[in-house]
């Protein structure tokens, strides 16, 4: 990926008319000048602010406990709610890195207090606990303007839904072995795979149509980044369940459902970028898709591999280094899981790996030859 340019270089290099360049320059001038601390803040300043405000808020919480303000469930719930509402309302004020971190700390502590107040001594049912988290996170996602809080909400909601499904599946699995129990298990398995698939599809579409969505959101574009990154992160975390050691609750696998959806998303992004951008013919496009499908066929029950490949392609087509790093890291993780869980001897695994390696190196030579031939023609 290319190094990022300066604002001046981007405007000068763009194919815009002179008057358009002037209006964009003056707009950015006024917007960035009034918001310089937010635009120009190095990332580690945000890390310091989060660490510092969390430590400070933790001490305040201990102070409140010591004062016996939080000695009953009602007082905990009320105090927590006040903190959540304050955190959400104040996030709409113009703020800098310090204020944002303080508000994040207030919101987080408020959520912990409300959850703690609602569940303590009442019930030990996991489903209730997860539902409470979902019901708290939804309004926070919709109304809080804080980036980190929105990101956490987007990640937490699908994870909690998945945990509810896992819990129901576990209860079915340990229950009597009847035909209806089997159908319920299959249904729960399909629902969980469709949940993950829908998250993958939505996150792909969000990144593919980044510009269009930005224009549509306009002054609500603070939803975009946390939602886009949050969905990718939650899909990766959910796909970790596809590894044998993490999915003991599911009797029926059906991971190929997620693989099919991920493959559909990958085909779509290849269509949008390669076919449309480079005028690739339909025949060549279908050949490329077929080759990818053939290579990835053995991994049909490991959707993590094709999804990480999808993230890598998405990241590269959008010039997004963070997403690219995420994709590459988890591609390595899911590949390791795949080979680890192969029910074969170490000798056979080594032969499979060496053969796969040779195949990819061969593809590399074929690809470079085709490109060289295309350039000379």
């Amino acid at each position: 990926m290319k190094r990022l340019k300066t604002i001046e270089n981007v405007i000068n290099d763009s194919a815009l008319k002179d008057n358009e360049k002037t209006s964009i320059s003056s707009y950015l001038d006024s917007q960035i000048s009034s918001n310089l601390s937010n635009i120009d803040t190095p990332w580690f300043v945000k890390i310091i602010s989060i660490i510092g405000t969390w430590i400070g808020s933790f001490l305040f919480l201990l102070f409140l406990f010591q004062l016996n303000i939080l000695n009953s469930e009602i007082s905990v719930i009320i105090s927590g709610t006040i903190m959540i509402v304050s955190g959400i309302s104040l996030s709409y004020l113009k703020s800098n890195a310090i204020v944002e971190s303080i508000l994040f700390a207030i919101l987080s502590i408020g959520q912990i207090m409300v959850i703690f107040g609602l569940i303590s001594n009442k019930t030990h049912d996991l489903k209730v606990f997860l539902l409470i988290i979902i019901l708290i996170e939804i309004p926070i996602y919709l109304f809080a303007k804080n980036y980190v809080q929105k990101l956490i909400s987007v990640i937490a909601i699908p994870l909690c839904i998945m945990a509810i499904i896992q819990d129901a599946s576990y209860n079915t699995a340990i229950g009597p072995d009847t035909i209806s129990a089997m159908y319920i298990s299959i249904l729960l398995s399909i629902i969980s795979k469709l949940l993950i698939s829908s998250i993958i599809m939505v996150s792909s579409l969000i990144w593919i149509f980044e510009t269009k969505i930005q224009l549509k959101l306009k002054h609500f574009n603070y939803f975009y980044s946390p939602t886009a990154y949050g969905l990718i992160i939650s899909s990766i975390l959910l796909l970790l369940l596809s590894h044998d050691n993490f999915s003991y609750n599911f009797k029926i696998s059906l991971w190929y459902i997620t693989t099919i959806f991920s493959f559909a998303a990958l085909s779509f992004i290849i269509f949008i970028t390669l076919k449309n951008q480079f005028n690739l013919s339909l025949k060549k496009y279908l050949i490329i898709i077929s080759v990818i499908a053939l290579i990835l066929l053995p991994t049909v029950n490991s959707p993590g591999i094709i999804t990480s490949l999808l993230i890598i392609i998405l990241a590269f087509s959008n010039g997004n280094k963070l997403l690219f790093t995420l994709g590459i890291s988890f591609f390595a993780v899911f590949l390791s899981f795949f080979y680890y869980s192969l029910q074969q001897t170490l000798l056979l695994k080594s032969i499979i790996l060496m053969s796969s390696g040779a195949l990819f190196i061969l593809l590399y030579f074929v690809f470079t030859k085709i490109i060289r031939h295309g350039k000379t023609v």
Binding site: K5, L62, Q66, A97, S101
Partner: protein
């Protein structure tokens, strides 16, 4: 356009800001998107796909070979085991001898030779059951690759050598010395890493191009700060029951101040200043919790402590942003 703003990097944040502009449409945004380099061109795609295929192919082949040897390792004769590991050292070394040391592939081969030196020692120890400690292995490894490190002019290799020195000292303290030496070991590790940092920064200040990249001194700074901060925090927690912890604390405070002065005035690097500030916040937090042990008025301490930490954080951020803006004005 304002000079300060012209030179700001065009990130996604700026692009999202632009999308809020009245009168902007998809066509204009797409042009900006392409100009910003977010959309790769044909050549970038070709390069990416070919690198991806080659990397995956090479990685799979290497791992396959490793698995193959792992499967057959027990049944291999000891001379073959040693022979393979020695060959893994000799082949890259021979290629390097006949190559230009300034080329990147030569440096990578020197790195490979250094790593395989460790594997020879490990295999030797495994075959002959020498009964040596892990400390002996790492000490021998460090000494043997010193020559390679000296000629390599390759920062990753220097970092590996420094890591080996650190591991050797830590293993020495756990396997040879008793627990009493722990605070002194922390101090010694801090001194060694700070010495490396000082040498690096002196050469960097002289303008040596070999020392122009900042990632290595930043890592060493964080390592040095970690040792001295751990020593100080443990001292506060255990009420300086050992003189070594007191030495750590007495050294830590001027070190943080020194970091701040040097990296704000002499060498411009916000990461080192920020790391020092995080360590100060951690020390203050530990002190507050410790004060509570001695005081009956925990309410005031918690209230004031929380307030003080947030104030300290705010001051740190304010200073960092101010320094950052000042440097940009100078540039």
């Amino acid at each position: 356009m304002n000079d300060k703003i012209k030179n700001i990097t065009f990130t996604r944040k700026i692009f999202y800001l632009l999308s809020q502009m009245d009168g902007i449409n998809k066509e204009k945004l797409d042009k900006i998107y392409s100009a910003a380099g977010f959309k790769p061109d044909k050549d970038s795609w070709y390069s990416f796909i070919s690198k991806l295929l080659l990397s995956i192919g090479t990685l799979f082949t290497i791992i396959g070979i490793i698995f193959f040897f792992a499967y057959n390792w027990r049944s291999l004769h000891k001379f073959i085991k040693l022979g393979i590991t020695i060959l893994l050292l000799i082949i890259p070394a021979l290629i390097t001898i006949f190559s230009d040391l300034n080329k990147f592939h030569s440096k990578l081969l020197l790195l490979a030779s250094s790593i395989f030196t460790g594997s020879i020692l490990a295999v030797f120890g495994q075959i002959y059951q020498t009964g040596a400690n892990a400390f002996d292995l790492f000490l021998a490894w460090t000494i043997l690759i010193t020559g390679i490190v000296a000629i390599s002019k390759f920062q990753p290799l220097w970092l590996i050598w420094l890591a080996l020195i650190n591991i050797t000292i830590i293993l020495f303290s756990f396997q040879i010395l008793d627990d009493w030496a722990f605070p002194y070991i922390l101090f010694i590790l801090f001194v060694i890493n700070s010495a490396f940092l000082a040498v690096f920064e002196i050469f960097q200040k002289k303008g040596d191009p070999l020392f122009k990249y900042r990632w290595m001194p930043r890592i060493i700074t964080i390592i040095a700060l970690t040792y001295i901060t751990i020593g100080s925090v443990m001292g506060i927690t255990y009420e300086f029951n050992d003189k070594g912890y007191l030495i750590c604390l007495i050294t830590a405070i001027p070190f943080y101040c020194g970091m701040f002065y040097i990296y704000s005035q002499k060498i411009h690097d916000l990461t080192s200043i920020a790391s020092s500030m995080i360590c100060i916040i951690i020390m203050v937090f530990t002190s507050i919790l410790k004060i509570m042990d001695f005081s009956s008025d925990s309410f005031s301490i918690l209230f004031l402590g929380g307030f003080f930490v947030i104030l300290l954080t705010s001051i740190s951020i304010f200073i960092l942003i101010r320094i950052n803006r000042k440097w940009k004005e100078i540039i």
